[in-house]
Subunit: 354 residues, 2 copies
Amino acid sequence: MRPLPPGAVIGMLGGGQLGRMMAGAAAQLGYDMHVFSPEADSPAGRVSATEIVANYLDETALEAFAAQCDVVTYEFENVPVEAVAILEAAGATVRPGAMALEKAQDRLIEKRFLNDVGIKSVAFEAVDAPAAIALGLERLGGEGILKRRREGYDGKGQVRVEIGDDYAAAWKALGEAPSILEALAPFECEISAIVGRGVDGTLTSFEPSRNTHVNGILRRSEVPARVGEDTVADAIEQARRLANALDYVGVLALEFFVLPGGDLLANEFAPRVHNSGHWTPEACDTGQFEQHIRAVAGLPFGSPDRRFDAVMDNLLGEEAILAAGEPGVTLYGKGEPRPGRKMGHKVTRIKLAG
Amino acid sequence: MRPLPPGAVIGMLGGGQLGRMMAGAAAQLGYDMHVFSPEADSPAGRVSATEIVANYLDETALEAFAAQCDVVTYEFENVPVEAVAILEAAGATVRPGAMALEKAQDRLIEKRFLNDVGIKSVAFEAVDAPAAIALGLERLGGEGILKRRREGYDGKGQVRVEIGDDYAAAWKALGEAPSILEALAPFECEISAIVGRGVDGTLTSFEPSRNTHVNGILRRSEVPARVGEDTVADAIEQARRLANALDYVGVLALEFFVLPGGDLLANEFAPRVHNSGHWTPEACDTGQFEQHIRAVAGLPFGSPDRRFDAVMDNLLGEEAILAAGEPGVTLYGKGEPRPGRKMGHKVTRIKLAG
């Protein structure tokens, strides 16, 4: 299969910061990006050749988009699977395809899929009514985290529960939506592995990072992850296994809990470039955004070698305004610096690697 | 003076590859770019929020552009000085200002200005008629290069002459336009120094590169330049002197001939980021495009420190198509790969610096 030639158009479903950073990589590789976004003047749209502003289920707009693009990718895992189906029916090539979205959009399907392909996760129980919470808690050791199966992110749509709680209230807090109850993992730290898989099945991986979340939002990623070599190798191997199982094209991230002793339990995966990989453009020969564009364009991967130890801090709300212009700061071009909103990040170079 | 806040608009006069690469730097810093270009769908316009397509002397379009932009800069030294005057009259801040354009657009004015501020150049004579060529050649040792004073680039608009040539033919070859006759410099190599100067007069400099031209077009830039330490220091010092003399804000390049023994003769300067600095984003902590945007936005400069020895090769015409997707390749998003057209460049990392 031949790579997309210079001047080809890469379509991006989603107009956020991930699309914006991929637009930069696409431009460097000589491609045009066309963005499909429900919101006008999106961060990605403002650095792309064309922005189609329409709902993800607007069939006419999707068909027009399909006609413009040589390949379509996405930056957002909650793009409706139906949108991908419409694009494909209109003749578009969508990479990664619908399967990765289907698996990632529903926490229950996701965890079952991970387990099916041999990737261990925390224990879990499906919850479709308050009574199932009681039952699940008994099986999972008396406490757990109740999460909506769909559409939660950055810690939203989840609540901690233990035996004796008001289950009806917890159920209500999640909007009475189909949910999953997950056992608590006695983890020492969290890491993520980011891998890329090409059209021909070639794999590439970044070194896993250690991630710190506060209130469910990623605050910091650090490389090296300060876990054992075996744990590092295991994380990469599991992420590669996932990419193969999904017949994936592009970059994905698999997040883990690291248990005492170094064993891993998968938490979730993202079928896209990932916040915990925002240190890669600065610290590696080739960053995650470029690797993703390379994959979907059918180009060979660049070297993912890391040149220095690095820390990536997210800049939330006003933090981004205060840090603007500092070395290593990337801003996302979002308007209002609402508290907790991801407005940018900062990569700090710690020392030469190795 | 306060730096431009995130979300501010940087106006770019010119839509070529230099503007395109500066658009990437502006996006990372959280700014929007609006491009003013005589041609639609320009390389810079396709990665910017807005593209105004109009002639550089279209007063109405310039006034609309001035109203949109928090600061205006340019990527092309042949932007008419009148355009800058119209923008300034409409209330725009233009950095660098009109003076740098005025001095750079006319080879005679440029060389006189360089000499006036203590920067030596080759000897030269003004030529306004064929008879002046004969006179000039006698003064300059019998041979020289006749160049149009205005609008020559990449070796266009110049012809080599010596005593006894058909002066009328040479004069005609240059379109009978006001010209300058320059003495030949017995140079060992060519280097360029790229410096930045901030709104507050702060200076920053990249290490000079050794440049190889073929048929008047830059083919390769290498760092280190393999000239003596004194020559390196002298080149930087002269470029800084030029930036100060122009009360310059932004990045400029000063090109030199290196004589046997290491003395320098300035050839010309460019009031903009420069092709011979295209290795800087890959090899330095901060690249020339980001430094220019930082300067015009009133932000402090980043570190220009270099991390490895590097070679930058221009990709002309079809060369860019063949090299597409190779590591270190940047393509410019230009349509037709005409022979000799600058379509991209490739940065090769040679070894760790120092």
